[in-house]
Symmetry: C4
Subunit: 275 residues, 4 copies
């Protein structure tokens, strides 16, 4: 029993350290240092600087490993630790960069994993975590509109590659390439060059582009409006309407009281009259 008590008290102490400003600050600083190290690696470096960066990278990896182990130790329910997506992400990124890499392809993979360490900033700062969570929540709302957009792209891409493949194999070769070309048209990126090329063979092909631009812009605009409206009706007005509703409820309750009082009064008068 004293051992259990000690353990619980130790866990409590670990958690206090974990949630302290100093610990949080140290982790954020090391993540930013690791981001700068990644950035520095993209420049031409002297051999000395290169070696320094390697040592720094090793130190950062060890720090992150210790930090994850510490956070795991501080977690009261070990089983649930990996159920949290952010913890899982942290562990994979940290453990992944421990694997020794020799051949050149694997080195690139190792460097990629180190880049994703910057994302740990999101998992460590609660404000960013909240932001990402609310962004993720917005995705399903856009689900069916995205599907509709995809159908529009697919149909136009199929038609495009059917007619324009002989005009420009590079832009309209097959359905996949055509969809990329249409994405380019949707961003207005040199879309007239694409159009003028096909208009030389199909003079009416401007209809294809203009309708496509109208459709995507129109659907996108409606998507935007829809999302704005949904978010608004959910978050903002709900609170306000609830407040107004509560106040009206209060008025209603008081009116019931008034009516009850009146009924009692009527009874009282009746009794007074009878006397």
């Amino acid at each position: 029993m004293p051992s259990a008590f000690n353990s619980s008290s130790g866990l409590e102490r670990l958690r206090r350290i974990e949630s302290s400003r100093l610990f949080q600050g140290a982790v954020v600083s090391i993540i930013i240092l690791s981001a700068l190290a990644i950035g520095a690696k993209t420049y031409e470096l002297s051999p000395l600087a290169d070696r320094t960066l390697s040592v720094l990278d090793f130190a950062i990896t060890v720090f992150f490993l210790v930090e994850i182990l510490f956070r795991f130790a501080a977690c009261p329910n070990k089983k649930r630790f990996f159920f949290d997506g952010w913890n899982l992400f942290d562990t994979i990124v940290v453990v992944g960069s421990l694997i020794p890499l020799n051949n050149s392809d694997a080195v690139l993979l190792g460097r990629l994993l180190r880049v994703f360490r910057v994302l740990r900033l999101v998992s460590v700062l609660p404000e960013l975590r909240f932001l990402i969570n609310s962004l993720l929540k917005a995705i399903p709302r856009m689900g069916y509109i995205a599907l509709l957009m995809f159908i529009i792209f697919y149909i136009y891409a199929a038609v495009g590659s059917m007619f324009f493949a002989k005009v420009d194999e590079v832009l309209w070769g097959d359905v996949a390439i055509s969809m990329l070309t249409l994405f380019r048209v949707a961003t207005f990126e040199d879309w007239t060059d694409v159009m003028y090329a096909t208009m030389e063979i199909y003079p009416m092909s401007w209809l294809y582009y203009v309708t496509f631009i109208f459709l995507t812009a129109f659907v996108f605009l409606n998507m935007m409006i829809g999302v704005i409206l949904e978010v608004m009706s959910e978050e903002q007005n709900a609170k306000q309407a609830q407040e107004a509703h509560d106040e009206r409820d209060d008025i209603n309750r008081q009116l019931h009281n008034v009516q009850r009082q009146l009924t009692e009064l009527s009874d009282q008068i009746a009794r007074t009259g009878q006397r």
Copy 2:
């Protein structure tokens, strides 16, 4: 009478099958398969794959035909079946791809009709159908703004082709081509190239482009705001305001009760006093 009963029961059974998850899932899967087949056709294929696709296409056409006939059989009111735009669309697309096509032009038409089969996804999935219906409802709202936009484009195109036709016949040859060029300017697509060319002869022609961009952007912005406001006032607030209105109505009704009770009370007292 037993026969009518049987028929009604058969219709009921057909409708139960039609609205079952299995049937819906099968139709959606076949539509996606048909979309993939259309996409595959845009790639260079071996003769074997080509023949397989032809067989698949035939099978899909037959499946769609059977499905339409089934849906028609399951429809309680045969006359109204074709009044629904989605049913009509499905029938045209399916029947259209049944017509045997030999010469090369007709083959292209047949392939086009097969592309439109992908749109059947919209007619089959109720969520997409709802989305499209609500998009269609938004069109009349934009009617007069679209007309205004068209007038702006037409006037600028007429002026543009009057002055700039001698600068660049390809871009400003006549009113129609000028409108296409202005659409390009409105999407900001290499509009400065167009402007610099005309500025060599008319140095003040930048005014033409800058005012056009301001006008279209301004009108478009207002259109967007207008649509957002209209949708909001219609869909969202209506519900909430109705709720608040109902609650205030309730309060009003209770107040009337209170006043009636008070009048009765006054009568009662008067009677009590007279006794």
Copy 3:
């Protein structure tokens, strides 16, 4: 007195004709015909077609003149006729195209005036007139933001022409040309070409472009939000809030009645008790 009566009755008849669907429809048709004639003139035409268009143009001018005279005759208060901006605009456009033009410059002016006839569609269709009026109302709202935007453009243009004039005389020659170049940058039109050219001499000049884009986008975004909010608070909520306010007013009035009734009741009881 009978003469005054007759005159009034004649005026009444004229106004009935003016506001009839047939008259309105005829005017709209002629305006559209005149627009088509303007469009047709931008194409290469056979001498016959050209002569036909000239005759048509003359007929349209006469029709518009008659229509304006008719509308003037139907107006009950002749002095106020020209106070209405739309009437003034119509008269200028119609009378302007009556002036005979011989030398080539004036011919171009005459054709320009004919183009503006298309705008008469706005003055004739009440829905478009309403739209334009509400757009014009939105302009003062944007006044100070537009001034702020102009100041930002002016400062950046002055700095730009100070530093970059020696890099590219065509783009940064003086303040006016620099503002046009900055407008181009604000529409994202090949802005990197402009930037890469100046970065060769001033490697840090990307700061100039990136801050400019951020500033204009940020101010524009806020302008948009501001306008949306102002329009919303004005038009939409006002109505709804008024309704809610009226209903609450009604509740208040009833409560006052209840309180008055109660006071009367108290008096009545006092009198009953005294008896």
Copy 4:
């Protein structure tokens, strides 16, 4: 005591002059004149015009100095004068342009300071000052979203310079250059040229660009919505909801009165009955 009275009365008179329409108008006119002088300097000028501008510049500098001294004299609390950011900005700009400059680098600095004089328009016109203050207030709201955007840019830039540096040293040389290239991609400026170049070596690199565009557009859209919602909930509805709340409060107060009156009535009847 009379001296103190005089001083206070003098200060009062200075402040009356400072806030007079004439004084304000003169300052605004001189600022606009100074802006025009800066603009004129960017053109090729005759020696005479150049000398005139130099004299004008000197006169403007003296006027601004006198104006600042006057405003300082009119300020009741001299210590607080420089606590106001706008006063500080005015003083720095005016005093800065007094320093005599000889060598060519310093001349450029002097001209830059003169450009910033145009910004004095913001500090003088209260409407613009209000606008800028409200824009500055909007910045912290966007803080964490901006950080998230920066993280996305940094990660993509690091990955981009890792893979694409060998494709195009100019666009993807290091992390800083890559971020500029990505900013270009985010503005859709010739982004396909960048993509097609890297797709020749990494055929799947379109995924890099398309995901980047989706991520930035998605985050930006959400940022915009977030800001709109926050501003709306703050400024607009607050006022309206408060009004409705006040009216409901009023109703509540009256209901309490009714209930109090009823209680009193009941007591009165009881007393009447006892008599």
